[in-house]
């Protein structure tokens, strides 16, 4: 297996220059805000995802965490993809990302849906790293549920 399939430039770029990093308060005081903190017990990676929403639009997704390049780049991509989206749309993207990561490298990602998330296609070939990529997405799902929005299919990673 080629290492550059895993460490695509896009991933390394998000890791070195994360987008929207840092936990933020909601701009709109009427928003519901909730967060979830997830850890990967096998390696100690952690991420906190905070969602601010009025119930139909995800006004902000802010995050903080520490961990490997895959988990931290994944949080940056998640922020970029889902921030400002309608909840229904956001969960379609969520589902597509989970499907990609659970596909053992057999799923061809749709760039129109996943944007920079397509760079994680190579990660799906490394079972030990799939959980790293999914960590922020699972935390997002919990945070969104706590903010009263959305359900997404269960992950079998």
């Amino acid at each position: 297996m080629q290492l550059d399939q895993l460490y695509q430039e896009i991933i390394l770029d998000h890791y070195k220059h994360p987008h929207g990093r840092g936990l933020r308060d909601a701009d709109d005081p009427g928003d519901r805000v909730a967060e979830a903190h997830h850890v990967n017990p096998t390696c100690g990676d952690e991420v906190t995802i905070r969602v601010a929403t009025d119930g139909t639009v995800l006004h902000d997704i802010s995050y903080d965490g520490m961990g490997c390049s895959i988990s931290q780049a994944s949080a940056s991509v998640l922020h970029e993809l889902l921030r400002g989206r309608g909840t229904g749309e956001a969960f379609e993207v969520h589902e597509a990302f989970v499907e990609l990561m659970s596909g053992r490298g057999q799923v061809t990602p749709d760039e129109d849906v996943l944007g920079d998330g397509v760079a994680f296609a190579g990660v799906a070939r490394y079972p030990a790293r799939v959980k790293c990529a999914l960590l922020p997405w699972m935390a997002f799902k919990d945070a969104a549920a706590r903010a009263g929005v959305g359900v997404s299919p269960e992950v079998k990673a």
């Binding site: 297996m1 290492l3 895993l6 460490y7 100690g44 990676d45 490997c68 390049s69 895959i70």
Partner: protein, 434 residues
């Protein structure tokens, strides 16, 4: 390196026992493997060791030729299996210089061995006739250290929760040594047991235990040493160590998984209540109550891992054939070489002792701020297998302010060329993440 001439008549470096590493490597079939197009460079023996053909053959032969249950059959196969199983016990007793084979209890691993002792404490605390050394309650204390593997932390936390006793611990110094400065305050008349790692699985530190042992004796407590990382790598003599219990696991010493050892002083095992109930551990059973067999059977309920125990006996024969002093010396030389080589890598920080004294061949480090997962992944692409993460010793990671570490660990089959491959791989990591 400068060399200093040792006066004649004194022990010379050439007097150290040695063995032919190439010949040893030929005994390990897995070392012929390629990983991602590169020769396997296995630097994860602290996690689990590889198994020589001599052990694999015994494991296969046992099932092929001598398979039967132990301790309950009068037929020939049953007798052969029992003799092989008890023979392995005797070999392991000799390997650690135990005064009697009956002091060797077979367990699943070190974790189970520690849990047996911890549960013996709470079981004794529930019985009015429990031996006072094992009775534990509020006001009593259990002492561990910040350097422990989770397997020597969690069982004691759970024991303290069950009994109301208090858990205390030795801190770790910046150099990765056990901080014994508070010994007198930490180990007191309130202490019932001190349970310490002999060699750290993450820092590589080999703890000098004699001061602690003396204090433990002074206050009348018991001492357990987690020798999971030391029995495979150093000559261990339980009489010399003067501990009350030691635990170790087979798979780290060229044996199979699923077999470990609890060694305990005979007189202590004799008064310890059983932990698991079932077949083989009884003296007599009525519908109302049971009485129990003498150790070691008292602690070996149910059909044990027979073939695994027999193969562990073969592993002990293998290690003894090479010589534990020679293995220790080989790893000392490797450690000195690796500490030097890793010291030449820019931005590399070693956690634990940076001199090859009072430490074994397990070296954890950070490479700049590259996450260990990423370090391990790039190394794997070059065939270099290291462990990354918290190494089941999260308090050690917290102590040094990192969420995870990268660890290279050596064994009798490790070569200096493999350490060179690690150092070259780390350069590659720096290139990817620069």
């Amino acid at each position: 390196m400068t060399s200093i001439a040792i006066p004649s008549g004194m022990p010379q470096y050439d007097d150290a026992p040695r063995f032919d590493v190439a010949r040893v490597r030929a005994d390990f079939p897995i070392l012929d493997r390629e990983i991602n197009g590169h020769p396997l460079v296995y630097l994860d023996s602290a996690n689990t060791s590889h198994k020589p053909r001599q052990v694999l053959d015994v494991l296969g032969e046992h099932y092929a030729l001598h398979n039967a249950n132990v301790s309950r059959s009068v037929h020939t196969l049953g007798t052969e299996a029992t003799e092989a199983y008890e023979g392995a016990r005797a070999k392991i007793a000799a390997f650690i210089n135990a005064p009697s084979a009956d002091e060797v209890v077979f367990t699943k691993n070190s974790t189970e061995a520690i849990n047996i002792v911890a549960y013996a404490f709470s079981n004794a605390s529930l019985r009015p006739d429990g031996d006072p050394r094992f009775r534990l309650g509020p006001g009593d204390e259990v002492v561990i250290s910040e350097m422990e593997h989770h397997s020597n932390i969690v069982p004691w936390q759970l024991l303290c929760e069950r009994t109301g006793a208090t858990l205390r611990w030795f801190p770790v110094t910046d150099q990765g040594r056990l901080d014994e400065s508070g010994l007198e305050d930490l180990v007191t008349e309130r202490t019932k047991i001190v349970s310490l790692v002999h060699m750290s699985n993450i820092l590589g530190t080999v703890n000098a235990t004699s001061r602690i042992t003396a204090r433990v004796r002074e206050v009348g407590a018991l001492l357990l040493l987690d020798c999971s990382q030391s029995v495979p790598h150093l000559p261990i003599d339980v009489v010399d160590l003067d501990a009350d219990y030691i635990v170790f696991t087979g798979h780290k010493m060229c044996g199979p998984t699923g077999i470990g050892v609890l060694w305990g002083r005979g007189e202590l095992l004799a008064v310890m209540p059983p932990v698991f109930g079932g077949g083989s551990m009884i003296e007599t059973v009525t519908m109302a109550r049971s009485t129990f067999a003498a150790p070691p059977a008292r602690f070996e309920a149910g059909t044990p891992p027979i073939a695994e125990a027999v193969a562990l006996g073969a592993a002990v024969d293998y290690l003894t054939g090479i010589g534990m002093r020679a293995i220790q010396w080989h790893e000392k030389e490797l450690t000195a070489y690796a500490l030097d080589a890793l010291g030449s890598v820019p931005d590399l920080r070693i956690f634990g002792p940076t001199v090859p004294v009072g430490r074994g061949g397990t070296i954890s480090f950070a490479l700049g701020d590259v996450h260990p997962h990423d370090v391990g992944q790039v190394l794997d692409s070059l065939g270099v297998q290291v462990r990354v993460g918290h190494h089941c010793a999260k308090p050690v990671c917290s102590r040094f302010g990192v969420p995870a570490m990268t660890r290279a660990s050596f064994y009798l089959y490790t070569t200096t060329e493999e350490i060179d491959a690690l150092v070259a791989g780390l350069e590659q990591v720096r290139k990817v993440f620069d």
